[in-house]
Amino acid sequence: MSRLRPSLRASARLGFAEVLKRPHIVTALLVANLIAAWILTAPLYGLLSTELDHTLYGDAMATGASWRWFDTVDRNHPQAFGNLDAWGGLLSDGGVRWGDLRKLSGPALSFLLAGFSLFGLSALLHSGFLATLPAERRMGFAAATAYYALPTAALTFFAAVIYVAVYGLLYVQTGKWLEDFRTSLDSEWAAMALTWTRLGLTLAVLLLVKLVFDLSRVVLVDRGNWNWPWAFLVAVRELTRRPGRYLQLYLGLGAIAPILIGIWSLTFGRFAPQGWLGLLLLFLAQQIFLGARLALRLTHLSAARQVYLEGIRLREKPPFKVEAPDGEA
């Protein structure tokens, strides 16, 4: 954040202050995710207990390298987890292997679908948060979430379509071409540079779409109506007017995330508690970490709103002409 320009730093500070003023919303989002995670993983607890409670190797499986346990589960309970190899394939460096989706079992696909559904739900809740920000039309979180549910859902769907379309185009046109080209090179560094170029392009596209999507919601809430296509166009125009400021804001705040993850990895990421007290401590640490991530994301949104409002103020003409004092240029 220290690298941001003074006005951007102020926007970020204001945005963060708005988040701090609404701890109930951060908590609500955190708890919503926690409950969803609990529900999604509940069917696995019994399986874990059956597999691990009576074996002397359970502790080693829960702390060290765990492929043997995963393999056992994969072999003995294919319907519980689906084909783990297929999961690995889906996440490969070469991009998403759609054909491998067929290998996933029904429960695994259900898990994926539930996850994507929650993505939509998250978007609604975030818009609700955003709608609590305008001082002149302050709404309660629940009421705001409900009020903007429909246009936000439409915007979310639209953004998802753009994501898939842009990423697909990028992958097919650029990714595949780069993949073929990189094997023809003699230099591994050059080949890696191409891979990182593709990664950079992908992230840049994701960031741009994200920015447009966030600004669309800012505009929507700022104008207080449901006209999401119009909000989207205004957001695009706003972003083309001052792209540097938004990019700098998002990247500057985004740089905090790796710091958070690094701190987590070096502290509780390696903690393997043995008793209830340790488990409780770990649980609290996990929620603090996730809460911090969530607050950071909400800060992005409210800080973007500050930058947007700043832009409007700058564009508004003063009501009277200001003359320079005599003798001054």
Partner: protein, 682 residues
């Protein structure tokens, strides 16, 4: 047999070179010895069967190769030979109908776009001047594929009697393919393997062993002497099997590199103008000196020290354990980016490895592949088993001995994952050798038996899981069964006895059984020739306070009825009756030890022959806390170690920790999903 050996011109040179450069002596000047004290044959002393004197001219622009020379074949079988069988491996890359490309169709696209490969014999005459070429025909002994041209058979003008020697004049033309597997070119880089018409193996019974080239199979050939001259334009770095004995300028300005090596069964070479060459001499007390030649791409030149260390560790440990490396040179090639298909291969005195530019030491790369390919100098090079029909004898044993070397020479590798080309190390998760390094077996434990031809497995994954991983685990299990010292003795005897020979699976089994004093035939029969899984499980454990006997006791006047609960203060209440059921879930039957662990810290071990499907142990004594089948982890082939132990009382710590971890992962995932809804790249 030795009396039949004639010393050809090639052999004289080889003998001269061998005696000049090494002569079978160790660094201290003493001859290399077998474990039983007898001197080991040097490469120049072994009877040659198939020797080659060849001249090859490579056009590095068209990747076309012209070859000519002489082949000398000696019939060392007991019956006359009426024909010769040749491998024409490069024809595997001739078209999509070849057996190789039918088995590996993914390579077709690359070859179609960037260059097919083929080879044709232009002339073939015996020393009497008979033209043998008109009768040359192609054979497909493995699959009957009429479109495969990787094997040719040529009738002789007259039968060659046992002990007789035949000399052929041959010329051939070859087009190298774009590297997809083992051989070919990539831009200016050339890895030239399986490039000349090579004789199959003439077995002692007079038959020819000359399988087609398959996607999974490697090679098998007879020993002989090689004298090869490679002609290339100036400015290209060349490396090859054997020792370079001369380098001369041709009339047209090209350079001719002459390499010779006695006592090998193949010859491979490489040529690339961008190679960085590094040389160092390996010296270790009791072992012969070896000149190590590294041919590296510029980007991995910084790995030279790690490569040298890996080779030195391999030459030292493998030499001490299984007999010294007998050749004066060892050339190692790190192929360029995009030519990894040429990497990870073994040829006599010439290996190819490979690494990525971002590979810190804990990843174990390139150390693992380097020691492995070097290990093939023993398991394939010196102990020349049939890589077509018994590929597990070299790959499996080599995987096992590679793990031994790595355990002795390096700290454990750690788990790593490559994300967008950057290795991410999990420093707190060391990999277990051999269980983690053979993980692929546990994913496909019962698909095939190990003893299949290399092309006879269900698929390439099965080939890898069984040929490499299961066989290496089998060797590890034998070592844990008989003890490391006995295993080392057995393997040294196997390596000594079959040095410069072609052993079979039975030879390995018999040698190990004899030398270790254990009858290993049940293990070989079930785990190598059979496909059943090995899986023992503790099915149930119970331990309850021993109840006092109730009922009618005594007779006549002493008769009394003891009701339930009356004898609670007796010694019975201090004793526990425990029941343990061990089950054999897999088809493999082996004796197994079960350890019972009691609350007072004592343990009790019980043996079971494993023949029935289950055994029940009833024990009276202290309270039982747990039972463990195979407590010393001897049975590394056990496909499910989680069920090898069972507690009487559950310990829920592990499942609670996993539950919490899973929930945290999912919660993280959900927040990451909302990354799409609200930007933050966390």
């Amino acid at each position: 047999m030795h009396s039949h050996v004639s010393i050809s011109g090639t052999r004289k040179i080889s003998l001269l070179v061998a005696s000049l450069l090494w002569g079978g002596l160790t660094a201290s000047g003493l001859p290399a010895l077998a474990a039983d004290g007898r001197p080991l044959l040097s490469p120049a002393e072994i009877p040659e069967v198939a020797s080659y004197t060849l001249r090859a001219e490579l056009d590095p622009v068209t990747h076309r190769l012209l070859g000519r020379g002489q082949i000398q074949f000696s019939n060392r079988s007991d019956s006359p030979t009426v024909e010769l069988w040749f491998h024409l491996y490069l024809n595997a890359f001739r078209n999509s109908a070849s057996t190789f490309l039918r088995e590996d169709p993914e390579s077709v696209e690359t070859l179609a776009e960037q260059g097919w490969g083929w080879t044709e014999i232009r002339t073939l005459r015996d020393e009497a001047g008979h033209d043998l070429l008109p009768k040359l025909g192609y054979a497909s002994p493995d699959d009957g594929n009429p479109d495969d041209r990787t094997v040719a058979r040529v009738p002789l003008a007259a039968p060659l009697a046992p002990g007789g020697t035949l000399r052929l004049e041959i010329s051939f033309e070859a087009q190298l393919p774009r590297v997809v597997e083992r051989t070919g070119f990539k831009n200016g880089f050339h890895l030239v393997a399986q490039w000349f018409p090579k004789l199959g193996v003439h077995e002692p019974d007079g038959t020819w062993s000359c399988p087609q080239f398959h996607a999974s199979s490697e090679f098998y050939a007879d020993y002989g002497d090689y004298d090869v001259t490679l002609v290339l334009p100036r400015g290209i770095v060349v490396g090859a099997t054997g020792t370079r004995v001369s380098e001369s300028v041709e009339a047209d300005g090209r350079i001719a590199y002459r390499h010779t090596q006695a006592g090998v069964h193949d010859f491979a070479w490489t040529a690339w103008s961008d190679f960085v060459e590094r040389r160092r001499v390996f010296r270790h007390p009791g072992l012969p000196e070896t000149e190590m030649i590294l041919l590296l791409r510029r980007e991995t030149a910084g790995f030279a020290e790690r490569y040298f260390r890996a080779l030195e560790n391999g030459l030292r440990y493998l030499g001490e354990w299984y007999g010294p490396y007998p050749y004066p040179t060892l050339t190692m090639v790190d192929p360029p980016w995009g030519a990894s298909g040429a990497g990870g291969m073994e040829y006599p005195t010439f290996i190819t490895t490979g690494t990525r530019v971002l590979n810190p030491l804990p990843t174990g790369s390139p150390e693992g592949v380097t020691v492995h390919e070097l290990g093939h100098q023993w398991w394939y090079g010196l102990v020349a088993s049939d890589e077509f029909r018994e590929s597990f004898l070299d790959e499996g044993i080599n995987t096992y001995t590679t793990a031994r070397v790595l355990r002795h020479a390096y700290p454990p590798q750690v788990w790593s994952y490559r994300a967008w080309e950057v290795p991410i190390l999990f420093a707190s998760a060391p990999r277990d050798t051999p269980l983690d390094t053979s993980a692929r077996f546990f994913r496909r434990p019962t698909v095939d038996p190990i003893s299949r031809t290399a092309w006879g497995y269900l698929d390439s994954r099965s080939y890898g899981a069984l040929t490499y991983s299961k066989m290496s685990l089998l060797m590890e299990q034998i070592e844990r069964t008989v003890g490391p010292a006995a295993m080392l003795r057995g393997m040294r005897a196997y390596a000594d006895r079959f040095r410069f020979r072609h052993p079979r699976t039975a030879d390995l089994e018999q040698t190990l059984s004899r030398e270790t004093g254990h009858d290993l035939s049940p293990l070989f029969r079930q785990a190598l020739h059979g496909s059943d899984g090995l899986d023992y499980a503790i099915d149930s454990v119970k331990s309850s306070s021993k109840a006092a006997p109730v009922g009618v006791f005594g007779e006549g006047e002493q008769r009394r009825v003891v009701p339930e609960g009356e004898d609670s203060s007796s010694e019975h209440a201090k004793e526990f009756e425990s029941l343990v059921v061990v089950r054999r879930l897999g088809g493999v039957r082996l004796p197994i030890v079960t350890e019972l662990r009691f609350a007072d810290g004592r343990t009790k071990r019980l043996s079971w022959d494993g023949e029935e499907r289950w055994v029940r142990y009833r024990v009276t004594g202290p309270r039982l806390t747990a039972a463990v089948a195979d407590p010393d982890d001897v049975m590394v082939l056990d496909v499910d170690r989680l069920n090898n132990s069972r507690r009487v009382e559950p310990d829920k710590r592990a499942s609670r920790r996993w539950s919490q971890r899973l929930r945290f992962w999912v919660q993280n995932l959900l927040e990451t999903f909302s990354t799409l809804a609200l930007w933050a790249p966390a």
